[in-house]
Amino acid sequence: MDAVARLLRRGLPVTLAVVDPVLLELRGVLARAADPGDEASRIAALDGTLRGLLARFPDARYAAAARALFGLPPAIAGMNLTVRRALAAKQAGHEVHHFRKRVEPKLLTTLAAELLADADRFTRSPLIAPRLAPVLARQPVLADPFAWEVAEQEEQLSLLWSAVYAARAELLAVERLISLRAEHVDVIRAAVTAAWRWAGARAEAISYTTAFAPDLAVDELVALAGWTPVLTPAQASRLTEAAAGGMSREEFVAHLHGETGLGNTWTEGFLAELPSPGQARTVARTSCSD
């Protein structure tokens, strides 16, 4: 709110002299900036964001007043605050002192809230699977390149999450069989299936991040599926190659025929004795203190 009030001194366009750095860190501003690392670019993005929000100011009664207050028509750029305020008060139909004391703070609060809502619209939460709800009507994709791109992005995102959950299911199955003290051969079979699903999830994660989210780490996405034995980067790549392109479990296994070391690392990792709860806590504390 204070940061928005500070902008009033000069009005729009936003300049470096009056801008509070906190506004330049808003997600909506960073997302719009042609070069988020460049301050001038972020200032231009903040300016555009504010102009857009003021043009669509939610309170129709005071929309023209809010615009005038910030130097947009009916005001003009370069007018000082006193002149802009008088013009805004006139637009709102209030006496100027009443406007300054009673109305202006509310307009600033509304604009600040709009800025935050805008930032929220740019929140990307790709590490949370999309929530689904019943679809009661057909949802055709508009014949528009933007719509095609966005639909394709959601397709890839859905494939990613289906692969992550498929891997999770198999990793859980391995741990359940170990807990049940199932036959060794059954545990191994489940571990191989888990490797196939895990590698498939990793392939999807690579595909998704390459195309749509280069800022996301593949390993962080795949880690959501569950715990796995520690692999070297080369081993992880080898598994991924074997599963990429929608390979069946049989094809995956055939592809890795002869990879005894990799197979042992994966299966023995699961079969190694579990640390006692006390040891686990110690390990966790050690990891956290690193």
Binding site: A45, T49, G52, A55, E154
Partner: protein
């Protein structure tokens, strides 16, 4: 069915403008903004208007050629081809009023959506080929279902919309926002803004 048709005053205004210098107006907005319906209404009113957005065919062509979705490294070539088509549309018009189904600065939205910087070609074309007015269609949907669940796709569509708007601000325009409404009412609003007679409704 309500049909938008030309009223004589509008015909006269268009005819009078036809001999004059070009006046180019862009209609833009993100997906789900009702742009196609409005463009149809513009055509029905007899107002000169771009028929198809060139990006559609070019996108199809690149998608077909690659056999997969466009990756970041494919975008430069694609963007340049789209830009070329938009510039051709722009320069082909030399007299009178014409509406455009998106404009050259929409390219900023494309690039921004994929985290890319605008190309020098886009910057140059934006500076050189200027439109007389930009109309941004507010989204028709609130993108929220009754349980307040915002779909990932809908969030992205909203993001595209805001990036398109920002592109026009970056290009030095002050877009006029057209509130969500029926296509005919939106066309009336646009015509009123341009001081053109409003097309008749329900004739």
């Amino acid at each position: 069915m309500t049909v938008t048709s030309i009223i004589p005053d509008l015909s006269h205004a268009l005819a009078a403008a036809a001999a004059g210098p070009p006046r180019r107006y862009v209609i833009t907005g993100g997906p789900s903004s009702g742009k196609d319906d409005l463009i149809t209404a513009v055509h029905a009113a007899g107002i000169p208007c771009m028929v198809d957005e060139p990006g559609r065919e070019i996108y199809r062509k690149h998608r077909e050629r690659l056999g997969r979705h466009l990756l970041r490294e494919d975008r430069h070539e694609y963007s340049l081809e789209v830009l070329e088509a938009f510039v051709a549309e722009y320069t082909a018009h030399v007299h009178g009023i014409r509406f455009y189904n998106r404009g050259i600065p929409d390219g900023y939205g494309w690039e921004g959506f994929f985290g890319l910087k605008p190309t020098p070609e886009l910057e140059e074309a934006t500076a050189r080929f200027r439109y007389n007015a930009i109309f941004v269609l507010d989204p028709l949907d609130t993108f929220e279902d009754p349980d307040d669940i915002v779909w990932a796709k809908d969030r992205e569509i909203r993001r595209v919309h805001e990036l398109v708007v920002q592109g026009y601000y970056d290009a030095g325009y002050e877009p006029v926002f057209v509130a969500a409404d029926a296509a005919a009412a939106r066309l009336d609003f646009i015509c009123a803004n341009l001081r053109l007679p409003k097309p008749g409704r329900g004739v």
